[in-house]
């Protein structure tokens, strides 16, 4: 009997310690690492792409994200007048755009997101009335179809051969639900009721996948594994934004729901609250972007943190020398995605003529890129980086 009780006690102890999900058990990633490092020491394989500029290929307000397929780059371009898809080859030559606002056949009045179905080799735009618009890989319209689940998806991406990863947000009741939809119409719903920013703020791309694991991240610091098809959400690691952020979180949960948004805005504007914008990973690095508002600066600042999985060291872009460009200016980079182990980013700096001249001489340029930089001006598309 004693043995029996001992075994039960031990089993209960093991199980309870396995189920503990508090932050002490999670891998902690320090955001404000102070170590200075050169970009070329972190990433040895770097290419610079200058996407060709003409009236049809011009970047608008922002490039939201990127898909890469068979050597072509597909960019989600957000303009003042909606969104379109811009397609370039890997040298940056413009191939075509998909811009079909209208009410005729093959046209949409709303552009939510797009993704590439690699199995069917087609590009899908999530349009109005839960409709999917199919295009071939040369931008020719094929047909349209109802969403398999008849839901509005704010973000959809291919996860693996059989699964789509979707972020659904169509009503107040399932505002923070995620659907993993497989091709055979079986889906799993994840109810994201955890996290202090629930129902208040969602990053633009709340999902990503790497090494066969699908991740969800809301606006605060924790990254969740949502790979299980059973609807289980497992926090895997968190980015430590420092003491102020922790204090905010403990204060935040005490506020009534209706007051939370104004508190969030106040803390962001006045007290340096940091919000997660995206999380992207490859085999070597986790990278997170956060936005913060510095007093006296008109625009909020985007900072990237690269966490080296092997050495467990993190590097904040505040402390990275972007030596690859031959200039002393800090690069304002915005990550667009990760494909075949390569990170893709757009450089948001407005370069002076002197800086462009310095960049022309850097060693990571091919002939096409160098020639394009010769004609670089205010109207040119932003420079892009590919690195690992």
């Amino acid at each position: 009997m004693k043995h029996f009780i001992f075994v039960i006690f031990c089993t209960a102890f093991v199980l309870s310690s396995c189920n503990r999900n508090d932050k002490n058990q999670l891998e902690r990633i320090v955001v404000d690492g102070t170590e200075r490092v050169k970009f070329s020491n972190l990433f040895s394989d770097v290419s610079i792409i200058v996407p060709q500029t003409n009236d049809s290929s011009m970047f608008g307000l922002e490039i939201r994200r990127l898909e890469m397929h068979r050597g072509r780059l597909y960019l989600l371009n957000e303009m003042q007048s909606g969104k379109n898809v811009l397609c370039f080859n890997n040298k940056g030559d413009f191939l075509y755009s998909i811009d079909k606002y209208g009410s005729g056949p093959g046209e949409y009045t709303y552009f939510g997101d797009f993704f590439i179905d690699r199995k069917k080799n087609c590009l899908i735009i999530i349009g109005d009335n839960n409709k999917w618009f199919y295009f071939d890989m040369d931008g020719k319209y094929l047909y349209s179809d109802k969403d398999p689940e008849n839901k509005i998806r704010y973000y959809t991406n291919e996860f693996n051969d059989s699964l789509f990863l979707s972020y659904v947000g169509c009503s107040e009741n399932n505002f923070n639900n995620i659907h993993l939809v497989n091709r055979f119409n079986r889906n799993t719903t994840y109810s994201m009721n955890s996290g202090p920013l629930h129902k208040l703020y969602t990053p633009r791309l709340p999902l990503c996948h790497s090494n066969g694991i699908a991740y969800y991240y809301c606006g605060n610091d924790t990254i969740y594994d949502i790979s299980s098809q059973l609807g289980e959400i497992k926090p895997v690691f968190y980015f430590d934004f420092g003491r102020k952020q922790k204090e905010f979180k403990s204060k935040f949960v005490q506020f009534a729901d209706e007051d939370k948004m104004s508190l969030l805005v106040k803390e962001f504007k006045e007290n340096g609250l940091r919000m997660t914008v995206y999380y992207i990973a490859n085999d070597d690095y986790f990278t997170i972007c956060y936005i913060e508002n510095s007093p006296g600066v008109e625009l909020a600042i985007f900072n990237n943190v690269f966490y080296d999985i092997k050495s467990k060291k993190s590097y904040n872009s505040k402390n990275i020398d972007f030596d690859i460009f031959n200039i002393n200016t800090r690069l304002d980079i915005y990550m667009l995605g990760c494909f075949d182990g390569y990170f893709y980013a757009v450089v948001k700096n407005k370069f002076s003529n002197e800086e462009i001249n310095a960049i022309k001489n850097c060693k990571f340029l091919n002939e096409t890129t160098r020639n394009r930089l010769m004609q670089f001006d205010d109207m040119s598309n932003s420079i892009m980086l590919k690195f690992r």
């Binding site: 009236d55 970047f59 007048s81 811009d99 606002y101 009410s103 109207m379």
Partner: protein, 163 residues
């Protein structure tokens, strides 16, 4: 001596009045900016339809007007008041926009204060001969029918003025 100083100050007054440069901190009305820009930059046909857009308008509002224009098969010119030219150029729909005119918001607002500028797209006809704008229309997003009726009226006006 008195008459010469009077002459100089009068000449200075005339030159400054003829100049297009606004004085510092002067309130400038939207109509005045439109007319001055079109007189200076528009070299197309008489009595043409224009759509005014700016970067403080919501994306959905601009898309809605593009959809209306496309549906009614209108040929239109666009005038954009933007901080960055690239944001304007990328926002111009290439399929049905004839001419596009850019106003540099940043440069303009350095010199003067915009007074009652629209925060939603606005249509108007510009009469090049009279250097005047008329048939100004503020579309309502929830009432597309009124926009379609406006377009019908505009088509008649343009056809009559051309015949």
């Amino acid at each position: 001596m008195k008459s010469s100083s009077l002459f100089i100050s009068l000449a200075f007054f005339i030159i400054s009045a003829c100049s297009n440069n606004y004085k510092d901190t002067v309130d400038v009305d939207w109509h005045i900016l439109m007319k001055e820009t079109l007189v200076g930059q528009y070299g197309g046909d008489d009595n043409q339809l224009f759509l005014f857009i700016s970067d403080n308008m919501c994306s959905e509002c601009i898309i809605q007007e593009y959809l209306n224009i496309n549906k009614c098969g209108m040929s239109i010119n666009i005038i954009g008041y933007f901080n960055y030219k690239r944001n304007f150029v990328s926002s111009v729909n290439k399929t049905f926009i004839d001419k596009s005119i850019f106003i540099d918001r940043f440069k303009f607002e350095k010199k003067c204060i915009p007074n009652e500028f629209p925060i939603q797209p606005v249509y108007f006809i510009y009469d090049k001969k009279k250097m005047n704008m008329y048939e100004i229309f503020y579309p309502q997003p929830c009432n597309k029918e009124s926009t379609y009726l406006y377009f019908e009226k505009i088509k008649r006006i343009i056809n009559n003025s051309n015949s």
